[in-house]
Symmetry: C2
Subunit: 424 residues, 2 copies
Amino acid sequence: MKAEIIAVGTELLLGHTINSDAAHVGRALSALGIDVYHSCVVGDNPHRLEEVLREGLERSDLLITTGGLGPTEDDLTKETVAAVLEMPLEEHADSLVRLKEYFGTRPMGPNQYKQVLLPRGSRALPNRIGTAPGCYARRADGRAVAMLPGPPRELLPMLHEQLVPLLAEQTQACICSHMIRTFAQGEGDAALRLAELTGRANPSTATYATDGEMFVRVTAKAQDAAAAEALAAPVVARVQELLGDVVYGVDVDNLESVVVPLLMQRGQSVATAESCTGGLLAKRLTDVPGASAVFQTGLVTYANSTKTRLLGVPEAMLARVGAVSEEVARHMASAVRQRSGSHWGLGITGVAGPDGGTAEKPVGLVYIALADDRRTWLRVMRPQGRYMGRAWTRHRAASHALDMLRRALLGLPVEMTATARGRF
Amino acid sequence: MKAEIIAVGTELLLGHTINSDAAHVGRALSALGIDVYHSCVVGDNPHRLEEVLREGLERSDLLITTGGLGPTEDDLTKETVAAVLEMPLEEHADSLVRLKEYFGTRPMGPNQYKQVLLPRGSRALPNRIGTAPGCYARRADGRAVAMLPGPPRELLPMLHEQLVPLLAEQTQACICSHMIRTFAQGEGDAALRLAELTGRANPSTATYATDGEMFVRVTAKAQDAAAAEALAAPVVARVQELLGDVVYGVDVDNLESVVVPLLMQRGQSVATAESCTGGLLAKRLTDVPGASAVFQTGLVTYANSTKTRLLGVPEAMLARVGAVSEEVARHMASAVRQRSGSHWGLGITGVAGPDGGTAEKPVGLVYIALADDRRTWLRVMRPQGRYMGRAWTRHRAASHALDMLRRALLGLPVEMTATARGRF
């Protein structure tokens, strides 16, 4: 089965909104073994949308549109699709009931009603979150258009709970895809290590770099899930073998979603003391549901006075070596561990920038320390002439802290000289 | 001038990567007054890329590709563009020098070299961050293809520091665009309030909803920047008039980037005590450069014991009303303010979910309190039967805290009944 993704919205062409919908839809389709060769963006312009719909219906079995289902005058997707498919719009009773429920006692604006007009004979896809139902309209010749709302938090439940099961009935081939995530591994080097695999088509092996992390995706296609999995499994194992302990997880989202379960398994806890990351490390740990079992205390000691008051960092030490120093990072990690009664302590202090850098303490310099009851470990991020920006520096520093804890929990070497570019 | 955006990469079609590059490029082009009617994604497939390039060169003056410039075998953009433009690849001396500098003492893999091969007669766009230079190749008939790298942190500096100035020389028309950001304002209601403006073409006025926030973009096109600005200014003012004090800023990124300067102007500081948001509020405040002037202390009291130890929340209170309660939120805000010696204190406690909800304290219920030296204010987020997920609930709760502080700093009413859907 061949499908195309058509994202509707002038704000996407102008770049005011990032087109994450196409990614969500593309991932769902590839998981179903549905081929996607075309993905495009159309503005809120019925004529161009009509062009794209007609062109797509010529060459593909399924078109999935995102956006343009809402109450505003710009929202023209359903009207245009109905015209192209020659399935005139009519009121969808259940959707109208749901819309009225949604507004309850709150006033419902006159422009809301058009949302419940769907192409005759189409199948409504109820919207669990917002007001605009989606729908699946199938033409007599079997070619179909599925319309999904633009806001990701409305699109995602509708896509996974309603459209995917509907499409799964219609597809044979099955795809299984695994993602191997690494930290502190450059992509160029990985490409060389994985050369024996990257040439093969099925399973395919490809490397991607995002946020200074590199991951490898292994994708296998077969008749059913079990066969696809059987194809993929040995390749996934081989990738881990070739890359070694820089691999922190398979089919995981990020370092925190690996570290929190590791702590849970050991019944251990971690406390955080953050300066330049300003709470980002605590935020990432608590992004993981159930983190409360392993994380009780986080301190954001953004000012020197706070470092002294909450962590007992000696004023003399701050005066002698400065807040951004190895000594202070080690002290922060040990003190927060001890004072919170946690097994592990993490301390981060650095210059996130863009300002505040000096000759010997440049913007991008960050010290990260990990402490247990016996010792402390340290990593230093050095900008090496290229400052990657405040957000990247903070994210990277928090990632190093998580990676240090991961490696300590697994009994792997913890310390390394980290550059702010994350290459080694 | 008409341009098209062509994003290259199978990972984009499969949805493994979100196509943020197209948004960055689209925004830059519209700011230059360059029209973008087509934006598409092509896999790592030279034949389909060739099709799209030929089609684009038929109807547009400029094509901008993103991705496919790297060292791996999948990176085929330059080869394909060179063939289509009939400008054969040749070694670019300066780029080779830069590449060698980049690797310095580190070993340079054999696959790195191909990155410095550029179409003959094209203009190299040096890569400040990564290894792959971009380039701008202009054919004899004036039609051009600009090639940018895929990773956003490489693309952004190249786009804004090199390609945009280069294109600015070639364009006449100038666009000015302003974004009016609101909090606690529904889009449907805004569309009605702004009806008198949304019909007009120049300046155009459009509403967008993201992350439960609604913003309005006013875009004016004219001969020069001053004329465009003169067109836009009165419409921007009218939008603010029509929407009122839910508008928290014009051309700002988010609430935190408004709150931190407001505190700076008043020489005041804020301290945070977070439970369910786990550091997200502190993280967002410290996302703003210079936040250290107004934020010294943040506490993540994720466990009840930590609430008692660090904030003196009475165990009796926790036993009586529970950690997720109005009383505890108010106590957290007051205590962190007092103990940190800050002007303002913010306290957040709630059930972020997905687990931990009960009948009377459902997942999504969050209490947010603001304290000064005289009183405390409170907002309550209630899921109203629709749980929006952990990340959204946490982000929303932190946004309410920032909006409460914003409104208090401006002397506006602070309290409101907030629903977790952010409609009022």
